[in-house]
Structures are given as structure tokens and as C-alpha cells.
């Protein structure tokens, strides 16, 4: 579904992604972790070309990102993205946030879109807040709306960039619950997160990144109990000790 | 079009243009000085907290801001003589420019002063500094840094406004172009050249403002 082939990216002189080879099969849940500055957010943002790459290739659902003929707008419709800062449109209600893309890109009619929106809001557990504005919602609620928005285009892949890092602790679980549900339904997901408990439960591929390189990947159980690399061990010990 | 552009004529009149440029620079400089004087006084009256001082200041500022400069210029040009005040055109022009820009300078200064955190002023009071001392040591040094860019912006406006003085027969840059146009019937050579001169002044002032902002950021860090 997602394949990175020898991908390299620079921000000016800074080599943020170094020779990345990475793939996610359909139905897989990949969790990417690592210290800040390791390039994990950048990696995931390259998948729907929020960030361009300078060398190598990324193939998403059979479409190559470096191929000039690829319609990037169409590709993005197949890939849902959930941001750390939610990025909900403040001037629209929760429902309008969710159905904007289906209305304008898939050219759905208003009634169908409304129904779809409400269905998705129910799925994430906030159907009663459909007509509320983001400013009236808590962080956890906003992020759930953001997930519903990501799902509105019926994407084949869902990407999550540290979805719970900006949330107060008591709201993290409501968002993780939704993500767990999605994973169990078979959605192909790539998640950048520090939530190791969640990762252990749903991931079938763990990726550890540091300084722009993928240091170690593998099955979660293996990853936690017998990490191969010294740096992975170091990182895990720091993160699991609190 | 441009092949017909008569550079020779521009060269012939270059002396006149340069004199006009010089006159504009002088008028703007004196006008700026006047504007700063008026601006500081009006600002202090405005923020004094005493109705007797702040009310006339506010009236002055709102009046200036709600009427065109040209009207103010004509007002003084046609009106002052009947009050017995016999200014030359040059003096009338600078007077009007100073009064006009003074209102805007006053607001710029006020914004600068109000941008200083109240806590610092309280600290000044707590340490026994009186009003003038607080002004001199706490408020002004900080307000000046922040107000220089908008003041330079207002200076650019002042330079452009000075062109209106040509309408009351003051000799400056625009008047020079009008003279060329009427003597040689070549409006293109006259006005476009003068436009270039104004752009020159504009870019100089803009770079000054840019330089100051970089300098200021450097200091604040």
C-alpha cells in the first residue's frame, strides 16, 4: 500500500530523511516512534506530499509520488490525515468540517453528505455535537471530529501525526479508542505516536527512527521485549519509565 | 513608445529636477520636524488623562484624519490671510504638512507608549520616579524603538504629500515636472522622470526602515 524506496529529504542543509526504505501492506498498522527531530513526522507527511522529497520514490496505492502524471489532489483524497494540532476549520460546524471535502471534491449532494457526516460523527462518538463549532469542543472532541473528517472521503489509508500529543491526559483515551476501532476494522494506518500501550495493542509493525534513519523495525512484542539495537533499547527505557 | 522618449530633454532639465528634488527633501525634512513637534505635544495632551488637555487633542486628531490634506492645505492657503496671518506659500505648505502629519505621528507615539507593559511603569512608580522621570528613563527609550518603523512609514507619506504643495505654487519636484510639461508639451518625460525620483526617495526610506527593524531585533535579543 505504501512503499518508500531509498527516500532522501533535506531541509536546506539538514538531512532529515536518510535512505528510507519502508513499507506498509494493506490492512497493516504501522507505528513510528523515536525522539523528537528524528524525522518521523516528516516521514509521514511525505506520504501525501505535504512535504516533497528530493530523491527516491514513494508509491502509495500503486501511484508514484514522483511521477509527474500523478494527480496529487486525487491521491490525497485516498489518504486521510489527522494532525497533532487538529486544524479544524474554526468557521464551520463539526458536521460542515467533516463533509466539506465530500461535497466539493466528490460532488455529493447535500443530503447524502449530511447523512455521511452524521454517520461518521456517530462512529467517533460525538453525533450530538454535529452543529457545534470547534471553539465549543474540548481537545479530545476536536480531534475526534478531525478523525471523522479524515474518514469522510472513504480513504484507503489513514495517517496520524502525533494525534494525542496536544491533548490533556484525560482526553487521550477517547481518541485512542477511536483509533483502535479503526485498526480492528482493518484500516491501513501509519501512526506517529509516543503512546506505547496503544502501539502494543494494535500495531503489527513497529518502526523506530532516529536522526533521519530507520534504526529498527519489527513485530511489536519482539520490539518491546527484545529490541535488537542499543539506541532502540535506550529510547524505550526512557519512554516506558514514566 | 519608448523610442520617442526624449532623453535629451530630461538631461536639459536635469538641473531643474535636481533643484526640485532638493526642495522636496527640504520641505519634507522641515515638515517632519514640525510634525514630530506637534505629534509629541498632541500625544502628551492626549494621554494626560485630564479632559481639558485630551479633549482638544482628540478633536484635532479626528479632524485631521477625517479630512483630506488638500482641503486642509486650501483651508490655510485661503483662510489664514483673512486672519491677518501672512505666510508665504512655502510657509503655508510646511505648516499644513506639519499639522497633518503631526496628528498621525501623535497616534503612532501613543501606540508606542501604550505598548510598554504596565508593570514597568508600576515599577517606576514604586521606585519613586515622578512622571517626567518615568517618561525619560522607562517609557521613551522603549517607545522610540518600536515607533521608528511606523514613523518612517509616515515620513514616506509626508514626502508624497509634499507633492500637493505644487498646487499652491510652491516650487518642488512635482512643480518641476509641471514646468517641463507646460514649456515643452512633454508630459511623459516630465511626469515619469519625477515618478522615478519619488521612487528613489521611497526606496531609501523603506530600506532605512528595514535596517532599523533588523537592528532592533538584534538588540532585543
Amino acid at each position: 500500500m505504501i512503499r518508500f524506496e531509498k527516500v532522501n529529504k533535506w531541509f536546506g542543509k539538514h538531512h532529515v530523511l536518510q535512505d528510507i526504505d519502508f513499507h506498509v501492506a494493506a490492512g497493516d498498522v504501522a507505528v513510528i516512534c523515536g525522539p523528537s527531530g528524528s524525522g518521523k513526522s516528516t516521514l509521514i507527511r511525505c506520504i501525501n506530499r505535504l512535504e516533497p522529497i528530493q530523491s527516491g520514490d514513494i508509491v502509495v496505492d500503486g501511484m508514484s509520488l514522483t511521477d509527474r502524471k500523478t494527480n496529487i489532489t486525487r491521491l490525497r483524497a485516498e489518504v486521510g490525515f489527522v494532525f497533532q494540532q487538529f486544524n479544524l476549520y474554526p468557521h464551520m460546524t463539526a458536521l460542515e468540517n467533516v463533509i466539506l471535502a465530500p461535497l466539493k471534491v466528490r460532488k455529493m449532494n447535500r443530503n447524502e453528505a449530511d447523512e455521511l457526516g452524521r454517520e461518521l460523527l456517530e462512529k467517533v462518538g460525538i453525533q450530538e455535537k454535529a452543529l457545534a463549532y470547534p471553539a465549543q469542543l474540548s481537545g479530545g472532541q476536536q480531534q475526534r471530529v478531525a478523525i471523522a473528517r479524515g474518514l469522510a472521503m472513504r480513504p484507503k489509508i489513514m495517517l496520524f501525526d502525533e494525534p494525542t500529543s496536544a491533548l490533556d491526559p484525560e482526553m487521550i483515551n477517547e481518541v485512542l479508542d477511536v483509533m483502535r476501532k479503526l485498526a480492528f476494522e482493518g484500516m491501513t494506518m501509519a501512526v506517529v505516536t509516543h503512546e506505547m500501550g496503544f502501539a502494543r495493542e494494535v500495531a503489527n509493525n513497529m518502526v523506530f527512527m532516529d536522526e533521519g534513519k530507520i534504526i529498527e523495525t519489527g513485530d511489536p512484542e519482539q520490539f518491546y521485549t527484545h529490541p535488537e539495537n542499543e539506541r532502540t533499547r535506550l529510547f524505550l527505557s526512557k519512554i516506558l519509565s514514566h | 513608445m519608448l523610442s520617442a522618449f526624449n532623453f535629451r530633454v530630461i538631461w536639459d532639465y536635469m538641473g531643474l529636477f535636481l533643484q526640485g528634488l532638493w526642495a522636496t527633501a527640504w520641505i519634507s525634512a522641515i515638515g517632519l520636524a514640525g510634525a514630530l513637534l506637534v505629534g509629541i505635544i498632541a500625544c502628551m495632551m492626549r494621554i494626560s488623562g485630564k479632559k481639558l488637555l485630551s479633549a482638544p487633542a482628540i478633536a484635532y486628531i479626528e479632524l485631521i484624519r477625517s479630512t483630506p490634506l488638500l482641503v486642509q492645505l486650501y483651508f490655510f492657503y485661503f483662510g489664514l490671510p483673512s486672519l491677518g496671518i501672512r505666510f508665504t506659500e512655502y510657509q503655508t505648505g510646511i505648516f499644513a504638512l506639519s499639522l497633518n502629519s503631526g496628528a498621525y505621528m501623535s497616534e503612532i507615539l501613543r501606540a508606542g507608549v501604550q505598548s510598554i507593559p504596565g508593570g514597568q511603569i508600576e515599577a517606576g512608580i514604586a521606585f519613586g520616579l515622578n512622571y517626567l522621570q518615568r517618561l525619560r528613563y522607562i517609557i521613551l527609550p522603549q517607545a522610540i524603538g518600536v515607533t521608528i518603523p511606523p514613523m518612517l512609514g509616515q515620513t514616506i507619506v509626508l514626502v508624497k504629500d509634499s507633492a500637493l504643495l505644487s498646487l499652491i505654487s510652491v516650487f518642488e519636484l512635482t512643480r518641476a515636472s509641471q514646468i517641463l510639461t507646460s514649456e515643452r508639451f512633454m508630459p511623459a518625460e516630465g511626469f515619469l522622470t519625477v515618478a522615478v525620483f519619488y521612487l528613489l526617495l521611497y526606496y531609501i526610506l523603506k530600506s532605512l526602515s528595514g535596517w532599523w527593524q533588523r537592528h532592533l531585533i538584534h538588540r532585543q535579543a
Partner: protein, 220 residues
């Protein structure tokens, strides 16, 4: 003497009202056209096409770096040399529109820039194209930042419209100028002119301030 002049002035009131109407017409039309132009240029400024950006920068810098008086002379006197004969009224509208457009485009571009980059990213991520992103996500949010300075710019425009009096259009300022030749009481005549401008501009300034307060109250 004064009361004689005063009664003459009151007789001239119809003339002043005609001038007021002319000012309304000129400012009004230029305002509308200038706003359209300003929005187009302001949005186009973020374009990826380098030559376009360059031309727009030259246009804006020229309009902002030269006095409007010189600009109106250029339009009125130079364009005929290049084959475009414009009467005073269209010349005034044309030059005032170009002038306004340059200032409004800066306001619009600033408003667009003030919208959080995450908004554009979120819209991109759901597959909306550039036009859709602008129309549904960015511009509605940019308008809140744009509105107060836009109204302020309208005030400046109305004041600068007084300069069209130099090419003979009978707006309020020209009426004043013509009247003072007959009634040599500059203070009375231009006092009246000033009051007329004040009554148009001051309410707009108050409106702009009100917008600004409302914007700040609603929070970012």
C-alpha cells in the same frame, strides 16, 4: 461683510451638494473596482508563477512609492500621447482604482498570510484543490483580519479622491476652490468643505474601529 459672505455661501449649497454627489460617485466606483482588483492581486501574489509575482510587485511599489497627484497626471496627460484619450471622469476612476488596488492588495495578502498554515494543510490533505482551499477555508478566515484595515483604506481613498479636483472634476474640493474665488472667505468655504468630508469619513473611521474591537473580542 461676514454675514454677506455667509448668505452667499448658503446660496451656494446646491453647488456643494452637486460636488458631494461627484465625490460619492468617484469614490464609490473606484472603491468597488479597486476592491475587486485588490482582492485579485492580493490572492495572485501568492502564485507560483514568478513573472506574474514580479509584475505585481512592480505595480504595487509604483503605486505606493509615487504621489497620487503624479499618478493622475500620468493617466490624464500621458495616456493620450499613447493613443488612449480619456475624459476627466474615466481618467480619475482609472487612476484611483489602480491606486486603491495596490493598497488593498497588501491588506488582502496580509490577511491571507495571517491564516494558520495548518488550515491550508488540512484542506490539502482532504483533496481540495487550490481554488477550493481559498474559497472555503482560507478566505473566510482571512476576511476577519482584512475587514478593519479595508474600511480604513476606504477612508483614505475618499480623502485622496479630493485630488481629482486638479483635473477639473467638480467634486467637493473643486467646488470649494471655485467658490473661494467668488467668496474670499477661505475659512468659511473650506470649513464647509471640511465638514462635508468629515461627515463621510468620520463615521467610516468609527466603523473600522468597531470592526477591530469585534475582531479582537472574538479572539483568534
Amino acid at each position: 461683510m461676514w454675514s454677506f459672505y455667509f448668505s452667499q455661501l448658503t446660496d451656494s449649497i446646491p453647488f456643494f451638494l452637486k460636488g458631494l454627489w461627484m465625490t460619492f460617485k468617484i469614490s464609490g466606483i473606484s472603491l468597488v473596482l479597486g476592491t475587486v482588483l485588490g482582492f485579485c492581486v492580493g490572492i495572485a501574489r501568492a502564485s507560483k508563477v514568478k513573472p506574474l509575482r514580479y509584475i505585481l510587485y512592480v505595480y504595487v511599489d509604483f503605486m505606493r512609492g509615487t504621489p497620487y497627484l503624479v499618478q493622475i497626471f500620468i493617466v490624464f496627460f500621458i495616456l493620450p500621447e499613447w493613443g488612449i484619450q480619456l475624459a476627466a471622469f474615466p481618467a480619475a476612476i482609472f487612476s484611483l482604482t489602480l491606486y486603491a488596488g495596490a493598497y488593498i492588495c497588501e491588506i488582502v495578502a496580509g490577511g491571507i498570510e495571517a491564516v494558520d498554515a495548518g488550515q491550508t494543510e488540512a484542506a490539502m490533505a482532504t483533496g481540495l484543490n487550490r481554488f477550493q482551499r481559498m474559497r472555503y477555508v482560507v478566505m473566510p478566515q482571512a476576511m476577519r483580519t482584512i475587514l478593519p484595515p479595508l474600511v480604513g483604506q476606504y477612508v483614505l481613498l475618499i480623502k485622496d479622491s479630493s485630488i481629482v479636483s486638479v483635473i477639473g472634476l467638480t467634486d467637493i474640493t473643486r467646488v470649494g476652490w471655485l467658490t473661494v474665488q467668488r467668496i474670499p472667505e477661505g475659512i468659511m468655504v473650506f470649513g464647509l468643505v471640511g465638514i462635508l468630508y468629515f461627515s463621510i469619513c468620520y463615521p467610516l473611521i468609527l466603523l473600522s474601529n468597531w470592526f477591530e474591537r469585534r475582531l479582537r473580542a472574538q479572539g483568534g
